[in-house]
Symmetry: D3
Subunit: 248 residues, 6 copies
Amino acid sequence: MRILLANPNTTEGITALMAAAARATAAPGTEIKPVTAGFGAAVIGSRMEMVVGDYASLALVAREAEGCDAVIVAAAIDSGLRAIKQMLPVPVVGLTESAIHAANLTGGRFGLVVSSTRTGAVMREMVEGYGLGSRLAGIRALGSDASAVYGDLEGSARAITTAACQLAEEDLAESVVLIGAVMAGMPARIADRVPVPVIEGVSAAVVLAEGLARLGLRKPALGSFAPPGKRSVTGVDPALAARLDGAG
Amino acid sequence: MRILLANPNTTEGITALMAAAARATAAPGTEIKPVTAGFGAAVIGSRMEMVVGDYASLALVAREAEGCDAVIVAAAIDSGLRAIKQMLPVPVVGLTESAIHAANLTGGRFGLVVSSTRTGAVMREMVEGYGLGSRLAGIRALGSDASAVYGDLEGSARAITTAACQLAEEDLAESVVLIGAVMAGMPARIADRVPVPVIEGVSAAVVLAEGLARLGLRKPALGSFAPPGKRSVTGVDPALAARLDGAG
Amino acid sequence: MRILLANPNTTEGITALMAAAARATAAPGTEIKPVTAGFGAAVIGSRMEMVVGDYASLALVAREAEGCDAVIVAAAIDSGLRAIKQMLPVPVVGLTESAIHAANLTGGRFGLVVSSTRTGAVMREMVEGYGLGSRLAGIRALGSDASAVYGDLEGSARAITTAACQLAEEDLAESVVLIGAVMAGMPARIADRVPVPVIEGVSAAVVLAEGLARLGLRKPALGSFAPPGKRSVTGVDPALAARLDGAG
Amino acid sequence: MRILLANPNTTEGITALMAAAARATAAPGTEIKPVTAGFGAAVIGSRMEMVVGDYASLALVAREAEGCDAVIVAAAIDSGLRAIKQMLPVPVVGLTESAIHAANLTGGRFGLVVSSTRTGAVMREMVEGYGLGSRLAGIRALGSDASAVYGDLEGSARAITTAACQLAEEDLAESVVLIGAVMAGMPARIADRVPVPVIEGVSAAVVLAEGLARLGLRKPALGSFAPPGKRSVTGVDPALAARLDGAG
Amino acid sequence: MRILLANPNTTEGITALMAAAARATAAPGTEIKPVTAGFGAAVIGSRMEMVVGDYASLALVAREAEGCDAVIVAAAIDSGLRAIKQMLPVPVVGLTESAIHAANLTGGRFGLVVSSTRTGAVMREMVEGYGLGSRLAGIRALGSDASAVYGDLEGSARAITTAACQLAEEDLAESVVLIGAVMAGMPARIADRVPVPVIEGVSAAVVLAEGLARLGLRKPALGSFAPPGKRSVTGVDPALAARLDGAG
Amino acid sequence: MRILLANPNTTEGITALMAAAARATAAPGTEIKPVTAGFGAAVIGSRMEMVVGDYASLALVAREAEGCDAVIVAAAIDSGLRAIKQMLPVPVVGLTESAIHAANLTGGRFGLVVSSTRTGAVMREMVEGYGLGSRLAGIRALGSDASAVYGDLEGSARAITTAACQLAEEDLAESVVLIGAVMAGMPARIADRVPVPVIEGVSAAVVLAEGLARLGLRKPALGSFAPPGKRSVTGVDPALAARLDGAG
């Protein structure tokens, strides 16, 4: 099985971090194909960059998805997720989408550790958009930008641990989700210091992508995730235009 | 006052239709500045085109908003709305966002007339995203594409009237919202045939944009709608890149 | 355009305060017609007074609405709002109803500053009644009665600023609504000290009333806001009885 | 024990109907004291009449509650309920409030039979206001005014039975609530023709009022149901003014 | 009238405590028949014990309900409640189910005092399961096990009072529910020290059971609470097997 | 990896059906260990049998889980799920829990096909209990008992297909979940006749169980899913008693 790991941020180092975590989780026989957006934000950290990232993500996957059995949208804000689910006949999952579904499956309500409070507001919208808003026990912010976390993973581990423990002890979260592409690999660093399960998106996305691919579900022929048919577009990435040309 | 009416679809004819409806509603002294996306979808009708439209909208407004006192994102799917609210220091409203807020202000729950059932699913997500999901009495589809409605407004009036009456009589909607940029001007055609108020987005957006501009609210300095500061991006529209360069 | 500004409290001084704020916001050509309840509570501050105020409001507007293009129910608890929407063929908005819709249109969740915790409970019910309960980030109380705030607006500004900042910084509100008729004009005093938009009801109600009036929506002929027809009532204010007599 | 049965409608015949049903349900030793509003609507059937009824109800109970151990607000729209709960140190329940709590206690979601669709919209708001909106399986209207139902109880029984059965069979309601003061005594007429429990407000209110009175709960000293203290009001019913004078 | 008070915990002392509280509340002529589970947990305090308790409760009631007019499932976690509602033709209520309905009937949102935070998570699920999740103002834990509270009721009274006051003063709860079978009789100890009504489950269950029994509602013939008909089971308590044998 | 497939119903034939479907889905190297309840209901089809099944499930898994890396509670009503999650240090998933999470991951709202309307009410409670109530587009019943479906899978396929298509075409479900242990293997029979993805619980549970096991999440030490510690129980299955004896 081949899984496309598509990073809508342009930072290759983060792609590498996530690819390593993905390979560590993947089943024997699963190949991870990491790709990075060709344009857009280095590290998406604002609503404006989210829109750019959605488009960069859609174009990237349009170009790279051939021959893949599943796709992981590899960013905390699940850039372009629903559009990519529509575009492809294979399973597509996002980091935050995957992590919160995995958390919900451990039972009980879950909490989120986010980089900044700005991110927290966006994450709440996302969790509600996936229908799991009632399961959100709390959101704690590290008080720094995603870029800053990426720049100092070891130092960040302490702050992340503190936030995770607060979620468990004060907000009654029965599991904790670390939000962010840069959190790939972080649970292993801190799991022994947090009294509830700690989950991050890359590993959750890998196992869910593999699992959904094995279910072999059909591509919808009806509804908002069915192929769009032949649409009229101009001035967009050629790979994307090809996918709006009426075939499958 | 000058209001930017930004159409994220590339169809100039729809921009003209909306500009006419906007001018018919605008207060004396309000200038409507209609602009049309330079690339993207002719008529957004799929999740994939929504992502393209978000980006085309953000770039368009980045380029054209100078000197404007308010901005209307002139499409049913409010392309790039939240990112544009973040980008600018002036009020920004979308067609659907405006129409449903106006409907809610008439009192009672409201229903939506949409072009296709595919659109209905997306609209439900949008209404829930704006926090008004509990006020949605029902959604009725015309069973055609937005492009088809645009191509035959007179013939569509009958189907729209039927759907609106069903929402009022069967779903107990106390007002009806016609979803779609192409619905600009439609309420006047059918108001006498529907027993409850009929609202569409362009006129609602104009009065709300004018009104919010007169409130003179400050630009947030905190939160997810505060300016993003200096962000690192590559390969994006220059007007948009300029706005991610750290100034305001 | 003429807008009726109907104060269901009997305190003329508050009516004057609100009328001044309304005129400062109104468009050129809009006349504000302030009226004050002829009986009832000086300053509504309990559930019992809310019921009295609803009735006083309905009677007041029944008497004074002739020739008006829109009506503002000028109290924080939007006295008799839904009944007045039913009674008249023109737009009717309340202070809190208007303020929270304006807040929601700036994007993001909003917080409320209220006078007492007692008011907070009632406000939560109202926000939920308007369908925007999921957008409420928090409620902070000043710890005093509405009368006390009215008696010392300058001193209250400090406490209001503190509460507003807490809502923004701790509760992640992306805008703040100051609840209370007496808050008219307050945002201008404190806007530079609060990092997010500050909104109050009178100015929001004026722009929304003007805007809705310009939409020219029809009066419902069906549903709970349609005219009541000829109803049998005794012992009520004559102006109100006239409106329950079967005409329009 | 003495229970005040306060009818905010002025129709004595409905008071008598409800008093008979109340006495048939009351425990030995419970005295029912029926009273009827001295002014207001004959049969509340519009939002305007609801406001009049709230005030008439509050004044009526202010005058008549002395020496009573509990109060039933005897109308479908629970006129003035929360204000009366604040006003008195004894339990106060409404017809619809009681019926839906009883229904919820039988287990499963419940449906409502209402007189007109206009009433249905108001009832939905009320059920949501009591926090039980998620338990509402459906609402079916008889298509007539409350007055018409009162005028022909025998004929209405057939229509009511049909609506109740539809709620059970199509909307999966596991119990049915008949909304309306005039439904007192109706369940006995139709219970054998409906496959799920049928509940109406007067009998539910009697048993809940008796039960809550026996719990002997304290009067709140804090919160929105605590006594209002000394308030300044003018031109209101003297009994009501007395209760806003600072005692109890 | 005879009410079965069925304790799904095996601790006779708690049954006796609850029986005393039940008798103190019961109407003249109501006989309380206390019974204790024959197997299972001494004091249910984990999800595992909840499942055991559900089964022990169902078997206990199957055996003991004959000749009873109502049943109280006498534990905080309402063991087997819905199954027992299905099993019997008489009203069945649980402690927590009863207490929160009584609290909601006093008006306003309510708070819960629970023994441990572990219990708090379970209680939130239960309140949401009954449809009253939106009425939950807060949950405060005593930080001890239910067994510990039972072992020191006098000492616990102080901690319970503190938690109750915090719910009223900080979380704006307008009434407080003490969760736990061991709280029977506790409100009387602390009512004068808490500014809002304090409610516990045994007394609430008694008055609700009596009241519902007097309504004489029919046994459902349709829906998930209708009798199961003849089912095939093996190896279960004989009294329970008899009730799954096709008769009523 | 070894996965315990625990059937809380006593019907071995259903266990075999599910084991075959599980093996068809499982990854190479995954061993499925099917076990069947030693007592209880043949086919759980009532709330009473649900309680019996919860207990039978808990006892069964207590006895059989040793050496397993994950557990599937193999019944539509996820018997004892939360208690088993608490009991074990490995992932535990239920059929319906798994199916609805998989459905939600395909994007869009989902619909349920259930055997009887009685089941539908219970399923709605379950979906809401997992936090995904807002994602439920509709529920359609086959109008027969789970036993009947099991007795005629081929004939049932037509009715299931009809219900699935109605969910997609009328209720706008973007995927369909077939509820019931007996639905194992059914999607393959009908996938080509339904225009949206069709999902059932056994295959979804297998891939989710495998995936969660690979994440290697820690066992909670805090919260309602942490081990219960030493609890006092009598008269329960010895394997279950051993697990309540204080060891992890």
